[in-house]
Symmetry: C2
């Protein structure tokens, strides 16, 4: 099983890009389509503007109790009704990465309630977290969210709460790519 | 700064291989020399038997108190007197990686005293930890140790203590490559 995913912004792919919102730091160029490949793609295909790569990995902060609670409610990707998606690449500061494990965990959960807040939006919003700092990518994480259109308002609220958290003080670059399934009527 | 390192086992490189000890699981072929390159090398050079790659990353378990204590005593690599080195690639089990952060931390430190035991051998033994599970390598970690010949007995004792720990019950593959600087008289 390949743990690597490539997100290619260009003119091809299942997902139609509705908007590329540059939230903070350097932005990404607007594109028409997003092609997601479960492999490492290093050469930019023709008519494409960018590639972002990430890998799935083990959990870094969640404790047993949180994992058990998450596993009970988190939905799979590719649900028929999940025709709306959002890709959020973020990069955190050097200060974040130089902190010890207990310091990062305290900000992530005890102060920002990252897992607890996210769980309030389950099972409506499906999520896949990919890591990319370790492979010398421009971002540190790529998070992919998928949901039914009627979950959009709840998702927007989740974003507002996350960005207001203590953890987000360490986010120095963020882009929000809004998409919908391209085969949608 | 490139965080990627490649260890090429063959006939070239500064380090002369004294022994390749296959400790558990599938072994590595014996080689004459080890070439260390601070970059991603994916194609096996001529007359080489294997390449192992890893990346340096943020700390995964150490808390602030431990990091502060470590920083006060840990030596740099490339000390003149450190003419002996050991490369230890290990792979942990699926069970290890499926555990929550608190479960892994408890085994790593509270039960196995990984950091505390390692600290007893500082500043004699310099160490660089590289991660490789996330980049689809055959091992999960590559640890590189460098020390003066008179530290060899202490280092051997450290290995015995680590391998007797609770944490090592999750190590399913391990190789120990013993080396000395090839320019040594």
């Amino acid at each position: 099983m390949n743990n690597r995913y490539s997100f290619i912004g260009g003119e091809q792919g299942l997902w139609r890009v509705l908007e590329v919102r540059n939230i903070s730091g350097e932005g990404l160029a607007p594109v028409e389509r997003l092609n997601i490949v479960n492999d490492a793609i290093t050469e930019l295909p023709a008519k494409s503007s960018w590639i972002l790569q990430g890998f799935s990995s083990n959990v870094r902060y969640a404790v047993r109790e949180e994992i058990t609670a998450l596993q009970a409610v988190q939905p799979q990707l590719n649900r028929t009704e999940a025709v709306v998606s959002v890709l959020i690449p973020i990069k955190k500061s050097v200060h974040w990465w130089e902190m010890a494990q207990d310091e990062r965990r305290a900000i992530f959960e005890e102060q920002s309630h990252h897992t607890a807040v996210g769980m309030e939006y389950l099972p409506g919003v499906a999520r896949r977290l990919l890591h990319c700092r370790d492979i010398e990518e421009p971002f540190d994480f790529l998070t992919w969210f998928e949901f039914a259109p009627e979950q959009t308002q709840a998702f927007d609220e989740l974003l507002i709460r996350m960005r207001a958290s203590q953890e987000w003080a360490y986010v120095e670059r963020e882009v929000e790519v809004r998409l919908e399934r391209g085969d949608r009527a």
